[in-house]
Amino acid sequence: MTEFLTAAVGFILAMLALGLVSILRGPGDADRMMAAQLIGTGGIATLLLLGTVANLPAAIDVALTLALLATFASIAFVKKGLSSLEADGSASTETT
């Protein structure tokens, strides 16, 4: 079972890498922002599998933290950051 789960981790990680290649190519910012989401989901799956394989229950807590904060990069993307009023005003991306 350990071998199978380790192989699954490796496979998912390889998929993650391939997906990253296609996303980071762009062309737009929106494409690139998907990278954070992809790593979020793939990373959670990898951590859960890794926690089971290596018998590290605390890895589950790392996955929990990732799942909780997975949205933040995308929120920063639509808000264009916290700092400047001008940038904030132009962030019409989340009005309806």
């Binding site: 990373g43 990732l66 904060l69 950051g81 916290l82 309806t96």
Partner: protein
């Protein structure tokens, strides 16, 4: 070659590739996205190295606050990017390349000449855990065996916030940091900001509390709480407090202040500065950590919110 080794090679290759891409790509924004993704993957490496405490920190900072900070900075830089497009000269580039190569060589050399087995204080830390009756060795090192370093780290956080606040224009001094965020109250961002923070609070306090015996602790928990606070701020559901608020300042110094008081008490009544009487070690450490999680959450949140921009009445 076992499957685990193959997995490690894949992981290292992905992280290295992403790192190189982050350096090579020319646009600030893309590099930032690459770096955020890189940070999340590095958390996987820390888990693989059994350094779960570090992985938690990496996930909490890299996944939450770091991304917000860096992407905001990149969005700000993007407007000014064409003006700084004048590339550095050839001599500067060659010097930078030589310097980088030397640094890499020095690091590689240091790793290669490490004696085998590497010198470690881990068994000593593990065998003295009885002194604090906390089971997490990392917490023991941070809060007892190397308490001085940890206390000074918190003082550094305080200095950082003073540094940010010192950029305040006179007209806004004492006011609220950052812009007042406004968002369409029906947007999905506001929806998330209504749902997630209570869950995040429970998770953050859990990560903090479990730090006594398992990986976790005040810094990771505080980072999660700060992220939840920022989410509410970014959705316009909360505002940053005015920096002249006495409560706020009390919270900001609570962690290092209590740490210092306990340390001085150790000097007066005990063996040395920052020595805990064994019977009270655990409650004292927990007390410091409770003050610390509040301080860390407030400090990290305010560091990201930036310098005061508006008068307190606004």
């Amino acid at each position: 070659m076992s499957i685990a080794t193959i997995f490690e090679i894949v992981l290292a290759a992905v992280v290295l590739g992403l790192g190189i891409w982050t350096i090579v790509v020319r646009e600030t924004y893309s590099a930032t996205v690459g770096y955020v993704a890189y940070g999340l993957l590095v958390a996987l490496i820390w888990v693989r190295l059994d350094a779960i405490d570090v992985a938690l920190t990496e996930a909490a900072i890299g996944g939450g606050l770091g991304g917000v900070l860096l992407l905001g900075a990149a969005a700000r830089l993007r407007d000014s990017e064409p003006t700084v497009a004048d590339a550095p000269g050839k001599a500067v580039r060659v010097c930078a390349a030589i310097l980088s190569a030397l640094t890499a060589a020095a690091l590689a050399g240091a790793v290669l000449v490490l004696p085998d087995p590497a010198p470690t204080l881990a068994p000593a830390a593990a065998s003295n855990a009885w002194a604090t009756s906390l089971a997490n060795p990392v917490t023991n090192v941070l809060m007892a065996f190397r308490a001085m370093d940890t206390m000074l780290e918190k003082v550094v956080l305080l200095l950082a916030i003073i540094g940010v606040w010192s950029l305040t224009p006179d007209s806004a001094w004492g006011g609220r940091p950052g812009p007042r965020h406004q968002a369409d109250p029906h947007s999905v961002l506001v929806f998330l900001a209504r749902l997630l923070p209570p869950i995040g609070i429970v998770v953050g306090i859990y990560i903090f509390w479990t730090g006594a015996n398992h990986p976790g602790g005040a810094f990771q928990g505080g980072a999660i709480l700060a992220a939840m606070w920022l989410l509410a701020i970014m959705a316009g559901l909360a505002d940053t407090p005015p920096v002249r608020s006495r409560w706020l300042r009390l919270v900001l110094i609570a962690g290092p202040g209590l740490f210092l008081v306990v340390g001085l008490a150790g000097l007066l009544f005990g063996a040395a500065f920052l020595s805990y009487p064994p019977a009270q070690a655990k409650p004292l450490i927990l007390g410091i950590e409770v003050a610390m999680i509040l301080t860390i959450a407030a400090t990290l949140g305010l560091l990201l919110a930036g310098a005061p921009e508006r008068s307190a009445r606004q």
